[in-house]
């Protein structure tokens, strides 16, 4: 059967037998809706876990812990730092494109400020580390960069004298005010989520928009602590918040690596400026992740995946199970389609005999019925996808109104990507076509004379 007449005949047949086909497509609609809903949910959860909570394209490596618990104390018997040789060895592992060493601040620090945003000044002990600005260059741009924290000769009386990237302050041991650069800092999304999800409730503080925090300044006193007296005069500097990054320390602030190195050398010891506490490995191809992990373990180091492998495994299992549920539903629906098409073929036996009598080939009959099944699958797929998306929207609304805020709570729990929707529709069409193949084959193989006689 060829040409426009084919399409018209298919449409006419669909209209004529719409009750049969509507009944047949109920199962497909339900299966497609369930598959769309569950897969979109699974993919979104995976996205949140593997991209936002546990980024999988970077791997943090640290010396292997060898702790000994002794009463209330845990004694660290392993090595505590990575040296330059270890960094070089990591860089030579296949699959590792770049190694970014990280250095902890080895002296205590106090942070204070936030009055303009929170309504009152806050002061807290804080931990810090340093990373290479190149690691986050794509994420936060050039705002996070190494700055010259040395002695400035530009005298000033107020901040406005120093331009936008510096402030007017004193250097320790010097009574004159000079222009000093703001030290750029990053925080982890954990910090923001922890604040918005829990901390702010305890202190009745406003919810913060991470983007609006950029530019916020606060003061840090390095070498100072509320727990013990400072060994020497602290170094006071003003910090400027320049962005949120997964590469930042989970709880604390992250500074440019060179600045932390200088602070460690000045306030702790020269050797403290040569010890890295961990390193971030950039992995070019995520498929090489297991190979890289093996290479790291061979060096006697361990991967701090912060749950990435478990998260990947769990989400893969959950997606597979939910997908399987939807596929089973569609398979059952395909069996139903097959039965309905057997019925349709029986009802249309004389008609099929007539088509054979006027010249239809067996392939024409098969194509006619399969085309009708594909059209049913397409319609059922579209309706099913619409139902799945609608169910997702309802679930999102319920989640927004009924679920409490929690870290990384997304605006939508569903990732209805175009390729997912298209794939599910293609699956629905394929299921209907497969279901219709046996009855189509039987109809095509039938004897036209017997079909016309109704035998």
């Amino acid at each position: 059967m060829i040409g426009r007449g084919w399409a018209r005949t298919v449409i006419a047949d669909l209209v004529r037998h719409w009750r049969h086909f509507a009944a047949a497509s109920v199962g497909i609609v339900l299966g497609v809706a369930a598959l769309t809903f569950f897969l979109a949910l699974g993919f979104q959860v995976r996205e949140i876990l593997l991209v936002r909570v546990f980024p999988a394209d970077h791997l943090e490596v640290a010396p292997k812990a060898a702790d000994l618990d002794l009463f209330a104390l845990r004694i660290d018997l392993g090595r505590d730092a990575l040296d330059a040789a270890a960094i070089e060895a990591l860089a030579s592992i296949d699959g590792v494109t770049v190694v970014y060493p990280k250095m902890r601040l080895t002296v205590p620090a106090l942070a204070s400020g936030g009055g303009g945003l929170l309504g009152s000044e806050m002061q807290t002990e804080i931990v810090a580390d340093g990373i290479d600005p190149a690691l986050v260059a794509e994420e936060v741009g050039t705002a996070f960069r190494e700055v010259d924290g040395g002695q400035s000769s530009v005298r000033c009386t107020r901040d406005a004298d120093c331009g936008g990237d510096a402030y007017c302050g004193r250097v320790a041991g010097n009574s004159e005010r000079v222009c000093r650069p703001f030290i750029p800092v990053l925080v982890s999304p954990y910090v923001v989520e922890l604040y918005n999800g829990a901390f702010r409730r305890a202190y009745d503080l406003p919810k913060l928009n991470p983007d609006a925090l950029v530019g916020l300044t606060f003061e840090m006193a390095f070498g100072a602590s509320t727990f013990r007296p400072a060994a020497g005069p602290p170094i006071r500097e003003r910090m400027r918040f320049v962005g949120v990054s997964n590469m930042a320390i989970p709880l604390g602030v992250t500074l440019p690596l060179g600045h932390v190195r200088r602070l460690n050398m000045v306030l702790d010891s020269p050797a403290a400026g040569e010890r890295y506490h961990s390193a971030i490995l950039e992995i070019g191809d995520p498929d090489l992740l297991p190979q890289v992990v093996n290479g790291v373990e061979k060096l006697g180091l361990e991967v701090r995946d912060r749950g990435v492998r478990r998260a990947a495994f769990v989400t893969a299992i959950v997606i597979a199970v939910l997908g399987l549920v939807g596929i089973v539903l569609i398979a059952v629906a395909a069996a139903h389609i097959m039965h309905v098409f057997y019925l349709v073929v029986m009802v249309r036996r004389r008609e099929i005999g007539l088509l054979r009598a006027v010249g239809a080939r067996r392939t024409d009959i098969r194509r006619l019925l399969v085309s009708e099944a594909a059209a049913v699958g397409l319609a059922a797929g579209l309706v099913g996808v619409a139902a799945g998306v609608a169910a997702g929207a309802v679930a999102d609304r319920l989640a927004a109104s009924r679920l409490p805020d929690f870290p990384f709570k997304p605006e939508s729990f569903f990732d209805f990507s175009p390729w997912l929707l298209a794939s599910v529709i293609v699956l629905a069409v394929a299921a209907c076509v497969l279901g219709a193949l046996p009855p189509a084959h039987r109809a095509a193989a039938g004897d036209p004379a017997e079909a016309l006689a109704g035998r």
């Binding site: 059967m1 060829i2 040409g3 426009r4 007449g5 084919w6 005949t9 006419a12 047949d13 209209v15 004529r16 004389r350 008609e351 005999g353 007539l354 088509l355 054979r356 009598a357 006027v358 010249g359 239809a360 080939r361 067996r362 392939t363 024409d364 004897d447 036209p448 004379a449 016309l452 006689a453």
Partner: protein
């Protein structure tokens, strides 16, 4: 030309042959009536000649084609272009218009004889005129009388200008007057379209209009009643 030699046919599960050694030659442009009681094998013989039933023994050569040797595509093209069928029950598709019913064979016409939509519409209108139903192309078969439906079925059978028109009890569902009109139509078509007509019938009118009458009795052609008119 139609040439059947020692044609035998037995339906699955049956104990006797429905056709028992039929020898028949039908020249081009002949008008042949097959008469006989119900169950004598008339419809079976028409189905074999029309390529609808190929489960037979013996020789069946129609228009130079050995029917049993043809592949599905070839026998389908044979049914599409060489023969036209007219059935007692009309077998019109009610979800299509009369024009679409008439042009049904065009859906399956392939190769050089395939025509465009305007030619198909024009041909359908021409045939509707020829069967005395001008302007009926847009109507549904369900709105027509029995005689009109059979005219549509005849027009459908003639769409691809077949060499052979096979009519199985074409007046069987019609009253006498309407049946006579259909017989007149067949006679006219035979004359004007130079088509070979084989009609299985109980209708004396058709038998009278035909050039030859052959009687089938228990699966055999009865020579005592067959002959030239």
């Amino acid at each position: 030309m139609i040439r059947l030699e020692n044609l035998r046919k037995r339906y699955p599960g049956a104990e006797i042959d429905v056709l028992r050694g039929i020898d028949l030659v039908v020249e081009d442009h002949d008008f042949l009536s097959l008469v006989g009681r119900s169950g004598s094998g008339k419809t079976t013989l028409l189905n074999i000649i029309g390529g609808l039933d190929r489960a037979f023994e013996g020789e069946g050569c129609i228009a130079g084609l050995d029917l049993r040797a043809l592949a599905d595509a070839e026998i389908s093209d044979f049914r599409n272009r060489v023969v036209g069928h007219v059935f007692q029950a009309y077998h019109l598709l009610d979800h299509l218009t009369c024009g679409e019913n008439v042009a049904l064979a065009a859906l399956f016409t392939r190769g050089e004889t395939r025509r465009d939509a305007s030619w198909i519409r024009s041909r359908a209108d021409e045939l509707l005129d020829a069967v005395g139903l001008p302007g009926a192309g847009a109507r549904r078969p369900s709105t027509l009388s029995g005689g009109e439906r059979q005219r549509i079925a005849i027009a459908r059978a003639l769409f691809n200008r077949p060499q052979i028109l096979l009519c199985d009890e074409p007046t069987g569902n019609l009253d006498i007057e309407t049946g006579r009109e259909v017989v007149d139509l067949l006679s006219t078509l035979h004359r004007e379209h130079e088509v070979t007509i084989i009609a299985a019938t109980h209708d004396e009118g058709i038998a009278a209009a035909s050039q030859r009458v052959l009687r089938l009795r228990d699966g055999c052609l009865d020579d005592g009643h067959g002959g030239e008119r």
